[in-house]
Symmetry: C2
Subunit: 370 residues, 2 copies
Amino acid sequence: MTTQGSSARAERLFELLSRGSSSSCLITDLSDIRWLTGFSGSHAWLITHANKMFLITDGRYTEQARAEIATHQANVDVVECRTQAAMISTTKSLTLGASAIQFQDSSMSHQLFCLLQGELGNSLVPLDASSKFLRRIKDDQEIKLIESACLIADQALTQCRGLLSQGLTESDIRDELDYTMRKLGADGPSYDTIVASGPINAARPHHHPTATKIENGHTVIIDVGALVAGYHSDMTRSFVIGPMNAEQSEFYEAVQTAQQAGVATCRPGVLASEVDAACRKVLSEAGLDQYFTHGTGHGVGLQIHEEPFINSSASVILQPGDVVTVEPGLYRGGFGGFRVEDLVVITEHGCRILNTSPKDPTCPPLQLTT
Amino acid sequence: MTTQGSSARAERLFELLSRGSSSSCLITDLSDIRWLTGFSGSHAWLITHANKMFLITDGRYTEQARAEIATHQANVDVVECRTQAAMISTTKSLTLGASAIQFQDSSMSHQLFCLLQGELGNSLVPLDASSKFLRRIKDDQEIKLIESACLIADQALTQCRGLLSQGLTESDIRDELDYTMRKLGADGPSYDTIVASGPINAARPHHHPTATKIENGHTVIIDVGALVAGYHSDMTRSFVIGPMNAEQSEFYEAVQTAQQAGVATCRPGVLASEVDAACRKVLSEAGLDQYFTHGTGHGVGLQIHEEPFINSSASVILQPGDVVTVEPGLYRGGFGGFRVEDLVVITEHGCRILNTSPKDPTCPPLQLTT
């Protein structure tokens, strides 16, 4: 959680490479490339060889890449290639003499792997499995950006939640949330904003907003985050329109308690699976765990879903600088659903919650017009 | 371009499989899965074996998958798996007895390939290279959805283009375009809407909108499309704020003429590279081709960029039902840039332009307040 410049990030990469058989590598994960160089375009490879870094991109991005790399204060040369064949032959000439090239087997297609293996003289060796944790521990600058993104989503929900009682559709609410986040300074939503209402849609954890009208008695799930300088936020709140019935109260109480139990477990040295277990235990004691059909959380940064993942089999140990969601939910067709989610950063002795949206699920009933 | 149901789409897949060594396959490209089954979630594998199709997805999507498959009238069984290990063992049991499994080497990571190769008893064989053309020829239903998406982007630009002369920023214009498209019925923008203004930003073909104010004398590129039921549109118009100078007129004239020449070349039987060459010839004769730094176009459908691609080395022959962009541009740092783009569908004897936005680049000058 210390402030780190681009050179500290390059050091993390070189340290990772030192565990492998070669100091030369080909980075194809665009988020890793952005983290290392500042380049935000949609097409690039990053080569390291003989302690130098090269970014290969196409003509759409050459000028942008040079400017972004300068802003990021990264020490990277930009090479323009207009075809994949040119990218491969450039890779070949930039890595001449390398005994092997380490590559990212989870972000390279099998097709490209076979092509490169045929064309390059050097052998291709997968980077150590820990490479997927390269960006995991966030520095102060990253945490600030994620906090800004959280604040924007919180403010947007505050401004828009009154709309839930105005007879609008799921899509309407989504549109206003996304527009409001941008007016508050976001580059956009951090993922497809979820507004899920009623007995069918709210029972689908990843529902896509539709023209379904939000009605009295509906459970409503709103899952919303903002994007700020490439960094994501992720937050969910759940609501009931008008008076809650007994079953809704029972389900909501269980989810909120489970979420608090999960957050209370978040501290350095804890297994990610223990956070999942803490949530599941509450829901199990309420006799509702069969309706919790997904994992408890995931890391958030330049990707909306990244390491460390929090589920029943996650063997990762939480560390200071991890930024993760805690988001248990309950879903049942015919009933609807609830999910409560905060983004937290692991600190030296526990965790800090980055969202501030209140968790009161009650909304005024719709005024029925005649 | 005939109307086809999901069974006709499955037929296309089975025909493709018949060219390989096995009728069993594992489809991992989510757009192919949506095209075949209607499933729109973010995580699934599709298995075909012994003339049956199975969709494997996780607990977030089980209910949604069943509903979407029913709406699509596809004949697919849904299997829920909560972990990747469960997905692999389910794949193994669903394909028992298959001599080999065909897979998509361009949409499967090398890591997953190695994992599957170790776990499955059957050998993995890449699908024929033509598999990337599976969704290429659009049926009537698909063309209608793409036309709706084009119409929405055209209408949004009509409603918003007056804002260019009001002293707003690139981001402001982007925000209004995206919001307007949704109010007109889009699920959202079809890609990150581009608003690029002035000597630096408009010189970057894939610029991301910033707080840069749009000023008199600026060239402005707006690249905007809508998303409708998973189908994309893609259109670009370029503008000058206030009177155009001689160089701006020269560049704009060249781009617009090149774009017309490209569209005029679009018909069945033509090589995609000929469309690219037609655009490039106009720009070359104007002495400006060094500023055209990208390919001429690409197919559009369930993906914003898909086959057939249109560039100088494209050996694809255009066919009725291809939906492609034609989008030459000129970019020079210090000057800015222009791009003009329409989406066209190849018909029996030529092509039909799907966008209707006028190509007049002139905008009133900003009213300077004191």
